[in-house]
């Protein structure tokens, strides 16, 4: 042990302790917001809007999801598909509240994240990151996987699945 430690420059050790420290305080305020089951669909051509579905859970203080960003699209917006007298409409959503026991579910036919100005069309198997920003300043980044058009949500997209680390603001 002494032999290994002596090889570490002091800065690395300090960084290591910091990581351990933040993991230790995970139950206190970090890792309370988690995104899981993020998936998307292919787009047939450039210029077409993309979609992202995922679930966000909060095991800490209630807050509000206020924006979504991704490096692969110029804009990402939250929308809600609603039916009014047999007409399907898409309403922009500015923010969504989240609290323990009240997760946010982006899923087909309901809330969804719309991607506009995609740098390239999306194809099945592709992965890309999206970052969710909350009113309290915290951010969650998760990896989205593009499914084939007819395969629908991947297993584990409905709750559960792999969670993502919350990055400290």
């Amino acid at each position: 042990m002494r032999f290994t430690l002596s090889l570490f420059p002091p800065t690395l050790t300090a960084a290591g302790l910091l990581v351990l420290g933040s993991l230790a305080t995970a139950q206190a305020d970090d890792m309370t917001l988690m995104a899981s089951g993020a998936w998307s669909r292919p787009t047939a051509s450039a210029g077409m809007a993309g979609v992202v579905y995922l679930t966000v859970t909060d095991s800490g203080a209630p807050t509000t999801l206020v924006s979504v960003t991704t490096p692969i699209a110029a804009q990402a917006e939250m929308h809600q598909s609603t039916e009014q007298n047999g007409m399907m409409e898409m309403l922009p959503v500015k923010s969504l509240p989240i609290a323990p026991g009240a997760p946010i579910k982006f899923s087909p036919g309901g809330y969804h994240i719309m991607l506009m100005g995609l740098t390239k069309p999306l194809s099945p198997g592709q992965t890309f990151p999206v970052t969710l920003t909350f009113a309290d300043g915290s951010k969650v980044t998760t990896t989205v996987t593009v499914q084939s058009m007819t395969s629908g949500a991947p297993a584990g997209a409905m709750g559960g699945g792999m969670g993502s680390m919350k990055m400290s603001p």
Binding site: R41, P42, A44, S45, G47, M48, A49, G50, V51, H79, S81, E83, G86, M87, M88, E89, M90, L91, P92, P108, G109, H112, M114, L115, S148, M149, T150, G152
Partner: protein
């Protein structure tokens, strides 16, 4: 005593009359609504003349002998349209051999963007069996009118009626299905309607 009896008799008659009137009105309304629905059903669909993804002219006549499952949408629709079309394709998968009798058709309400080649790439993502139709604004407008499809272009996107239309092999309208039906529900309805 006689007066009392007369009064209660009139009251009973009045109550009976009101009840009868109410019942009649209710039944009348029901009949009227059924008739209205029947009339509406009878006028859904009709001739159309559109273009497929190979730039070939396609009319409703070309589909006689097959059931048609028609959905109006646009390729830029990120959520509802892909969800519906995916459910349709999955439903046909659930039907097994009977699916061969059903032709799924996607008709665009956005001719400006959804050219034949755009439609070709789009439908290919769902199934080689899915036919995508586009056309001139006039041709599509006529089809939208025939199928009672309302289209509203907004800054956020195109709002549109979201219904799956099941047409019979003779070209007549059979049944509507809500676009947000699951694949299982669509398959069940198709199984029921296919003879």
């Amino acid at each position: 005593m006689r007066r009392r009896a007369k009064r209660s008799g009139r009251l009973t008659a009045l109550i009976a009359a009101v009840l009868l009137l109410g019942a009649s009105a209710g039944v009348f309304a029901l009949i009227r609504s059924e008739t209205r629905e029947q009339v509406a059903q009878a006028t859904i669909g009709g001739p159309f003349r559109l273009i497929d993804s190979q730039n070939r002219t396609v009319t409703d006549q070309d589909f006689r002998g097959r059931y048609l499952l028609i959905y109006f949408g646009y390729t830029g629709c990120p959520d509802i349209c892909p969800t519906t079309l995916a459910s349709v394709v999955q439903a046909l998968g659930l039907l097994g051999k009977r699916a061969a009798a059903v032709q799924p058709v996607f008709i665009t309400v956005d001719p400006a963007h959804d050219t034949p080649s755009v439609m070709r790439s789009y439908v290919a993502d769902f199934s080689p069996r899915l036919i995508g139709l586009t056309g001139t604004p006039a041709e599509l407008g006529a089809a939208e009118k025939a199928f009672h499809v309302t289209v509203e272009v907004t800054a956020a996107g195109i709002n549109h009626s979201a219904v799956l239309y099941l047409m019979g092999p003779d070209g007549h309208f059979l049944a509507p299905l809500p676009a947000d039906s699951s694949a299982a529900v669509i398959a069940k309805d198709l199984n029921h309607d296919l003879t």
